[in-house]
């Protein structure tokens, strides 16, 4: 090999020379691309050996499996009953069967190709030169000069009037370009401060029926919504409220603990707190009857119901706002006002 290499370097390479094998051309091409093939030999020393045939058979087998699996996928896709039916039935297997057949087909294509590349292609080590780093000095100087001449041609340095005019003229255009984003801006003054509750709004269940005291057993809690059209929909995502029926002694303690802002919010043994966690706005929905704690499942803030829903563990910093409630002459729960403080997560302007 070393002989031919020196020949290449000295003589002009003639691709039409009948003495060259195809690999000679490959090697010359690589060399012109800065790549030296330093090691190149067939994977098997004897072509058609037992080992080679074994690999070839394996690759062929892989492709056979690919064909079968792909065919099975097509048949299953078309013929397998696929529509959803309750209960346990063949239809439930539609997706798994598709997954297995498609997966097998693709996996074995991969295995076949990689085996081919690793076990049948010639062994090779090539070395490519790197041309790292900066461009040659001359090149850099020429490019820099070209760039500087652009500035010269424009003459922006010599013409201060233009400099100022361009700056003053284009600055507003730059600002104007982002103006359409202004369409996104919404005024928000009051939306975060109020909810759908106000004086006289009754409490309703999720199904729209109004709430009576006997709907909640002692120690129990339910989620209630403002009894207005779509009051239980996401349109009023700030209004879901937790109505809790405390046991007698808990109710007494709650009443005694009530802060000035929560005075008069309790009706007999019933209290209503905003369900929206003051930390990140998840519904704080896990009520532990024994300890009268309310847990938010998102970040585990815990609130003490008998003490103004004060946060006692986790990242929440503020009490759940209490909804002042009473029972009207028809025997239904009704709010006597909106929440006294904004519900939900904190924000900069929160009063």
């Amino acid at each position: 090999m070393s002989n031919t290499e020196t020949e290449h370097e000295t003589a002009e390479f003639d691709p039409d020379d009948p003495k060259h094998t195809r690999f000679d051309l490959v090697r010359e091409g690589a060399r012109r691309d800065g790549v030296e093939i330093v090691h190149y030999e067939p994977r098997f020393t004897r072509p058609g050996s037992k080992e080679e045939k074994r690999v070839v058979r394996f690759v062929a087998l892989c492709f056979a499996i690919v064909g079968l699996a792909a065919l099975a996928f097509i048949v299953a896709y078309v013929a397998w009953p696929w529509q959803y039916k309750p209960g346990s039935n063949l239809n439930k297997w539609y997706t798994p069967v598709l997954g297995i057949t498609l997966g097998l087909a693709l996996l074995f294509i991969g295995i076949a190709i990689i085996t081919w590349a690793k076990k049948l292609l010639p062994e090779e080590v090539s070395v490519e030169r790197r041309h790292d780093g900066a461009s040659p000095d001359t090149e850099r100087k020429l490019t820099a000069a070209t760039a500087m001449s652009m500035v010269d041609e424009l003459g922006i340095q010599r013409r201060p009037l233009l400099k100022g005019a361009v700056a003053l003229g284009l600055a507003p255009v730059g600002v104007a370009a982002i103006m359409p984003l202004g369409g996104l801006i919404k005024n928000h003054k009051s939306d975060l401060l109020t909810t759908a509750w106000h004086k006289g709004v009754r409490l309703m269940h999720d199904d729209g029926t109004l709430v009576r005291p006997e709907d909640v057993s002692a120690g129990g809690q339910i989620t209630v919504f403002p009894a207005i059209p779509e009051g239980n929909s996401n349109k009023y995502a700030d209004s879901p409220t937790l109505l809790i029926h405390l046991r007698d002694d808990d109710a007494k303690r709650t009443l005694a603990n009530a802060l000035p802002i929560n005075k008069g919010a309790q009706w007999q043994n019933y209290v209503a707190y905003s369900k929206i966690c003051t930390h990140a706005g998840c519904p704080a929905s896990l009520y532990e009857q024994q300890t009268n704690r309310l847990l938010c499942p998102c970040h585990q803030s815990q609130f003490d119901i008998t003490n103004n829903a004060r946060p006692i563990f986790g990242p929440a910093t503020r009490r759940l706002p209490q909804l002042p409630i009473t029972v009207d002459s028809d025997g239904y729960f009704v709010a006597t006002s909106d929440y006294k403080v904004p519900i939900g997560p904190g924000f900069w302007e929160r009063p």
């Binding site: 309750p86 997954g99 996104l184 930390h279 519904p283």
Partner: protein, 535 residues
């Protein structure tokens, strides 16, 4: 005139000739064919991310044919009986239809979700490989930054996708995202109202998320991936040190056919595994969660794994709220601001600047094309381990309610364990990794000086036992060899130096039967031979 007969054997040549006449592509094409890639298993991790992204584009396009990004409320009448007659958004209903009323829709939905998880996982593991081996050093700082941005874009893209079906979990995630926006001082409410078009949830957010998820963010990701690969081609791949490998060359295989075939085959394997996952392992069964209702959430509501660390940081945050009183008005900085806005901000900045910080503190501004073994740079390996430990503690804390439930541990104890763990475990990881690296370094030097442990115990005349060592070169009179460390694997077992037959790993018998050594083998000198790097 007789028409020349069409010869199929000549056709490729004719086409090539036709194209070359017009484009002159012969030499650039050959240059591409001949591009040399080094071979090492760890170089394929980034490929997994690339292939997952292609699969995401394919499956995502299918999903887009059927999905309606609208929060208009309708009553469900589809095939899934338990939800019939329930009012829900069109987005949720069309996601249900995709799962139950579109033939093969469910498997594509599940492949899409699995591919997203794999995309992020592959990015992280690839990034760790780059980090621990120092592949980000000059001249590759730019590509590190692009890759790092790709992680965060994938994060946002994944979150947007997760939010689209408008099921109970995605709605809860969105509400938390809204709370995070609200927590930003001064502009928070304006940001939130601009994005949601009013108070949460409003009726525009799904449409906006949709255009971001299917056009805006994937477009940016695609452009950055193209740039990432273009820089890779321009700067050429890094390589491990080894015989014949220098800072000024690349030793490996030419791209075609071998390397490209392996890449293509690997794509098929990634796709195949994802197809199996999509078919066999249920993911995000939105029909069990129900439509999003502001008042409903269940326990054990976890986001996708790559978001969990921020969920964890939020859970661990102590209840510290800043309240400022100026001009007769109070202003609030909620506790949510620190773990979800400030922390990611710090992480992004530190990550983007890491190559430059390391250059500054290690005073190494040189060009590097050879990789470093993690043990050879204990400080960096320690920092990496620290970052991983930090991420793991937060991720585990993101699921601390599930852990508390399954292992019957107090939830509050889990939170406190996380709060203390986040302060203690990362420094501990740094210390241990640093020590392990030093130990490994020392062992390498020891083997180079004294030779490989043979496992043969010799008894000396005075009764002492010593282990026989096989020196790696001709030893001097003290039995020492003065071999320099070359930044690459030092053989530590007898079969590594050919003294006994190579170990056959696993239960597949290789085609090439390992040869039994027939004669006494001399101390291996053939370490200097150039190999392809396969071991």
């Amino acid at each position: 005139m007789k028409r020349p007969k069409f010869d199929p054997k000549q056709a490729p040549g004719a086409v090539a000739d036709w194209a070359d006449q017009r484009l002159g592509g012969a030499s650039p094409l050959r240059k591409l064919f001949n591009k040399v890639f080094p071979d090492h298993w760890s170089f394929m991790l980034g490929e997994i991310a690339l292939y997952s992204f292609i699969i995401l584009l394919l499956t995502g396009t299918f999903l887009a044919f059927f999905f309606t990004p609208s929060s208009t409320e309708i009553v469900y009448h589809g095939s899934y009986v338990p939800l019939r007659g329930i009012t829900m958004s069109q987005a949720y209903a069309s996601s249900l239809d995709l799962s139950f009323d579109v033939r093969g829709g469910l498997i594509l939905r599940q492949i899409h979700h699995w591919a997203a998880l794999l995309f992020m996982a592959a990015i992280v593991v690839h990034m760790l490989r780059i980090f621990f081996t120092g592949a980000f050093r000059r001249p590759r700082e730019m590509n590190w930054m692009i890759g790092f941005l790709l992680f965060w874009l994938g994060f946002v893209e994944g979150f947007a996708g997760y939010s689209l079906p408008d099921d109970a979990l995605s709605g809860t995630g969105l509400r938390i995202a809204d709370a995070i926006m609200l927590s930003i001082p001064v502009v928070g409410t304006w940001v939130s109202f601009a994005i949601f078009g009013g108070e949460f949830p409003g009726d525009v957010i799904l449409g906006r998320l949709y255009i971001a998820h299917v056009f805006l963010i994937p477009g940016i990701i695609l452009a950055l991936i193209a740039l990432h690969l273009a820089l890779l081609v321009k700067q050429k791949h890094t390589q491990w040190p080894g015989p014949g490998r220098t800072e000024h060359n690349v030793v490996g295989h030419r791209m075609f056919p071998g390397f490209a075939a392996k890449g293509g085959g690997f794509f098929m394997i990634v796709f195949g595994v994802l197809a199996m996952f999509g078919g066999l392992i249920q993911i995000n069964p939105i029909w069990l969660f129900g439509p999003y209702k502001a008042a409903v959430v269940s326990s054990a509501s976890q986001p996708d794994w790559y978001v969990m660390f921020l969920d964890g940081s939020t859970r661990l945050m102590p209840p510290w709220e800043i309240r400022i009183h100026v001009f007769g008005h109070g202003y609030t900085v909620p506790p949510l601001f620190w773990p979800t806005v400030v922390l990611p901000g710090i992480l992004v900045t530190l990550g983007l600047l890491y190559p430059f910080l390391e250059q500054r503190f290690m005073r190494d501004r040189a060009h590097h094309n050879l990789l470093q073994r993690p043990r050879d740079v204990p400080t960096r390996a320690g920092l990496g381990a620290m970052a991983v430990a930090f991420f793991l503690v937060l991720t585990l804390s993101g699921g601390n309610d599930v852990i508390a439930d399954k292992f019957d541990i107090s939830l509050n104890a889990m939170t406190w364990a996380g709060r203390i763990g986040i302060l203690l475990i990362p420094p501990l990881a740094y210390y241990l990794t640093h020590r392990i690296c030093l130990g490994l370094q020392q062992h390498d030097r020891e083997v180079l000086a004294h030779g490989v442990e043979t496992g043969i115990i010799k008894r000396l005349p005075n009764g002492a036992f010593v282990e026989v060592h096989q020196p790696l070169a001709e030893p001097d009179e003290h039995g020492h060899t003065e071999l320099p460390y070359r930044g690459w694997v030092v053989p530590k077992k007898m079969n590594r130096i050919g003294a006994i037959g190579p170990a056959v790993k696993g239960f597949f018998v290789p085609v090439e039967k390992p040869e039994e050594p027939t004669e006494e083998v001399e101390a291996a000198e053939e370490r200097e031979e150039i190999t392809s790097g396969r071991r």
